[in-house]
């Protein structure tokens, strides 16, 4: 059940948003990397900023033989190492840690859920959490069905308060598996209880895309095929597969980045204005974008895999030499693709998407390239010397927006491109919260706007699954085909050059 907003008369005019009702967050996979690197630091920072109510509790579920105290100490160290606010504040931590417990069990062990139910009831009585629960699946994806089925079997999917479940990525590895997982989840939970996380949506600049588009009157009239030449969306990483080689080798860039993060960015730049800013209205518009994308074929894509090279001046291994990766792997670590959205706004405007590992810089941005001036009236500058206007929405590392336009060089007849920059950090002088902070809070408040809905996930997979199939059936690729530390395979440059365009130099 989506919680109706309480009518707290003291809320009016307060400058921070409402706090969620007291609840217990049960983290499955509490001994894992995500819990200590992201989840608990995010929860602690929320508590530190007075965004969590008294009574908020955490139960860590994992199979190691740990005590509550040992678990708390471990989490404290984890927060010390990973929190954006630095080491814990002892007073605050003491109060926060009182609400943390460890629950030992294996995911397939029925008794562990019986005792979990008892523990949750005890917490309700002691800490006033009123039956409100969030189950967080921070586990390997193979464990999702087991946990969901067990929660259902033990009556934990519903309570006298509200119950929600957060599911991490990857959500399936193709259309069929995503549909199967959705069916499993929805046989136990209702869709409005399910929060599929895509942490990109928790980033402030990503949310700013909608504000930028729909809170400013001047952009919407030019946000269409008559003014825009094409759009480039880039998510470049400098890291390789780190220690996730085993997992990554079964996944690849299309599944790991394009299907979720880049598709989300695509939806946000391309969607129509929603009638109101609410979870379903926003997600309806996003789904419409995905459904309007013209079916892709392999010739619309370029794949790459990095070979040995260097990163920040150090030599690094090639992908096939990474731990957990097959020496003859055909998994792509780079994808570039072109797609069209067949609707009135976008017909004929190409969207170029690219994402890869071991590229020279870590950068995510959306660049909107406008059409060139129709004729050149300034005799000294040939038209093709003029740079078109580009509006770049930078997501990381330097969040902000920049606009490139032409200007006269002082004292000379030339025209030169200049850039007008708006930096998020410099203009507001505050650090943005981590994506997970926003998302965890939204889930506790019952706001699903920044989470992915069932039809959204499936529409995105429906678009990309034919490519995955064609790749799998096609001939082996001459991998590796780009050097670690370069901007991807030469084929990607040729791919865009064929259309008379080029990738932005980032």
């Amino acid at each position: 059940m989506a919680t109706p907003v309480l009518d707290n008369p003291l809320r009016a005019g307060l400058r921070i948003g409402r706090t969620p009702e007291p609840c217990t967050m049960v983290i499955f996979g509490a001994s894992g990397d995500l819990t200590s690197r992201k989840l608990v630091p995010a929860l602690y920072n929320l508590a530190r900023e007075r965004r969590l109510p008294g009574g908020f509790s955490v139960v860590g579920f994992a199979r190691r033989d740990w005590t509550d105290d040992y678990f708390r100490d471990l989490l404290r160290e984890a927060v010390n190492a990973n929190s954006r606010s630095g080491p814990v504040d002892p007073e605050l931590w003491a109060s926060f840690a009182q609400g943390i417990q460890y629950h030992r069990g294996s995911f397939d062990e029925a008794d562990a859920y019986t005792s979990l139910a008892e523990r949750l009831a005890a917490i309700d009585a002691e800490r006033g959490t009123g039956g409100n629960r969030v189950f967080y699946l921070a586990t390997p994806p193979e464990a999702y069905p087991t946990i969901i089925a067990q929660l259902g079997a033990h009556g934990l999917a519903h309570s006298n308060g509200w119950t929600r479940i957060i599911i991490e990525k990857p959500f399936g590895h193709d259309l069929a598996s995503a549909q199967a997982l959705n069916a499993e989840v929805l046989s136990v939970f209702r869709e409005d209880q399910v929060y599929r996380i895509d942490h990109y949506l928790g980033k402030e600049t990503v949310q700013n895309i909608l504000i930028f588009r729909f809170a400013n009157g001047i952009f919407e009239p030019i946000w269409n095929r008559s003014q825009i030449d094409h759009i480039q969306i880039t998510v470049a990483e400098t890291i390789g597969v780190e220690d996730r080689g085993g997992y990554y080798d079964t996944s690849g860039a299309l599944r790991d980045m394009i299907q979720n993060h880049l598709m989300q960015l695509l939806c946000l730049v391309a969607m129509e204005p929603p009638a109101l800013y609410d979870a379903d209205a926003v997600r309806d518009e996003k789904v419409k974008v995905l459904r309007a994308v013209r079916p892709l074929s392999v010739s619309d894509t370029v794949r790459g895999q990095y070979g040995p090279g260097s990163a920040s001046g150090r030599p690094v291994r090639g992908y096939r030499e990474e731990k957990g990766v097959s020496p003859t792997s055909q998994t792509e670590t780079y994808v570039a693709l072109k797609l069209f959205i067949d609707n009135w706004r976008w017909a004929g405007v190409p969207f170029y998407l690219r994402s890869g590992k071991r590229l020279p810089r870590r950068v995510s941005e959306i660049a909107i390239q406008f059409k060139a001036a129709p004729t050149m009236i300034f005799a000294d500058t040939p038209l093709n010397d003029l740079d078109p206007n580009v509006l770049a929405i930078k997501i990381q590392p330097d969040e902000g927006i920049s606009l490139k336009f032409s200007s006269k060089t002082p004292g000379q007849p030339q025209i030169r491109p200049v850039t007008m920059d708006f930096r998020y950090g410099a203009s507001f002088g505050v650090t943005s919260p981590e994506a997970y902070e926003r998302l965890l809070l939204d889930c506790m408040l019952g706001d699903g706007t920044l989470f992915t809905r069932r039809d959204e996930v499936e529409a995105s997979w429906a678009l990309l699954t034919p490519i995955l199939q064609a790749w799998a059936e096609g001939p082996p690729q001459p991998f590796p085909n780009y050097e670690a530390g370069s901007w991807g395979p030469a084929a990607a440059d040729e791919f865009i050059a064929r259309d008379g365009r080029s990738w932005r130099r980032l």
Binding site: N8, P9, L10, A12, G54, R127, G128, A426, G429
Partner: protein
């Protein structure tokens, strides 16, 4: 510059030159310097000590709200004396990043008539940007310069914690806010300091089962730091806020004083007994001796009607923290520790500068508190 030489064009020229120098300065290391102005800030201070405080917060203000500051040191005196100087204020940023800079003009005056000062200030304002007038210190409304300028401003900022005769000046502030009716909008840094207290109080009632108790509050006790002379303004504003949010109204003889303690009586709608029924809410404001902090120390909201419940926010022994505790009869008390930093002056100002129009919550709280203050100020 001496009086004769104060020349607006010269100041403007100096400002322009300053930007050119900044842009070519070798220390800028080829970094672009951005002149980004989001508002005009006129600060009227009575003496050099205040001017120093303002100068100390200026960099932090520039970082969040790059502005043109016109600082007027408006000293009393017989001989008229006027001086001006100009300065760029750049925020320090990491190497390689663009610097954001604002500008500051200081006008140092002694015995200058308000009209003369205003004629210097007005042409220095950057057009088409909001104008904020900040008048820290006691008796802001008695200052001729404030009286002269406030109509031209979008916002007037005062600080009730620096009032000399707090209760009387609170009543004046309330009257001013009402008459101004948003032109200009009024901010009080004393009110801004209450934000964490309001947040922590409001948060109790985001919890569904606690909400009904909010409508049954019968007693409130607020303790505040006595200091050298007690300033109950924060406590009064807090009561004003609760009362305006919960539709409580002061009784005709709403105030009593017992020693140092102020007693207030309000009526609230009674719950569950017909539409016209009312109940009494009794409020006590007590000064307590406590070193090292200012403002509120502890507040307790109690419901005795029907089910007993108590909601307490209090500073803990260690500075910077508060304990919040909800106790409902028959259940475990729910406690937590939360940060309640003593906010820096710059943070308070920044939060007020972020507001674009009249703060209606503040206006309603102030109106109610002002009414109480007026009764308290009667002999």
């Amino acid at each position: 510059m001496s009086e004769a030489a104060i020349d607006i064009n010269a100041i403007e020229r100096e400002l322009r030159q300053m930007w050119q120098e900044q842009a070519t300065h070798p220390e800028a290391g080829g970094q672009a310097v951005i002149r980004a102005l989001t508002l005009n800030l006129i600060v009227r201070v009575p003496d050099d000590a205040w001017a120093e405080q303002v100068l100390a917060v200026a960099p932090a203000l520039t970082a969040q709200h790059p502005n043109r500051t016109v600082l007027v040191i408006d000293r009393p005196g017989s001989a008229t004396e006027l001086q001006a100087n100009v300065q760029a204020l750049c925020t320090l940023t990491n190497a390689g990043r663009t610097q954001v800079c604002g500008e500051q003009v200081t006008i140092s005056a002694r015995g200058a008539p308000a009209g003369q000062l205003a004629s210097l200030i007005l042409p220095l304002l950057v057009p088409d940007l909001p104008v904020v007038l900040w008048a820290p210190g006691p008796q802001p409304f008695a200052q001729p310069l404030v009286q002269r300028l406030y109509r031209l401003c979008d916002r007037l900022i005062v600080d009730s914690t620096t009032f000399a005769d707090p209760v009387r000046e609170l009543a004046e502030l309330a009257a001013f806010e009402q008459t101004a009716n948003g032109a200009p909008a009024v901010s009080d840094l004393g009110w801004a300091r209450l934000t964490p207290w309001r947040e922590l109080t409001a948060q109790f009632f985001d919890t569904r089962p606690f909400l009904p108790h909010l409508h049954r509050i019968d007693e409130i006790v607020i303790e505040y730091v006595a200091g050298t002379h007690p300033n109950p303004v924060a406590a009064l504003l807090f009561v004003g806020w609760l009362a305006s949010c919960l539709k409580w109204t002061p009784l005709a003889d709403a105030v009593g004083i017992e020693g140092e303690t102020i007693q207030l009586y309000l009526r609230r709608p009674a719950v569950g007994v017909g539409p016209a029924a009312i109940r009494l809410v009794k409020v006590e404001l007590r000064p307590v001796a406590l070193a090292g902090v200012e403002g509120l120390v502890r507040l307790a909201l109690r419901a005795v009607d029907n089910q007993q419940a108590e909601f307490v926010v209090e500073l803990t022994g260690d500075s910077g923290y508060a304990c919040t505790r909800a106790t409902i009869a028959g259940a475990n008390p729910i406690e937590r520790t939360a940060t309640i930093d003593h906010p820096a002056l710059a943070d308070l100002l920044n939060s007020e500068l972020r507001l674009l129009s009249r703060d209606r919550t503040f206006a309603a709280a102030l109106h109610l508190a002002g009414g109480l203050a007026q009764r308290l100020a009667l002999p």
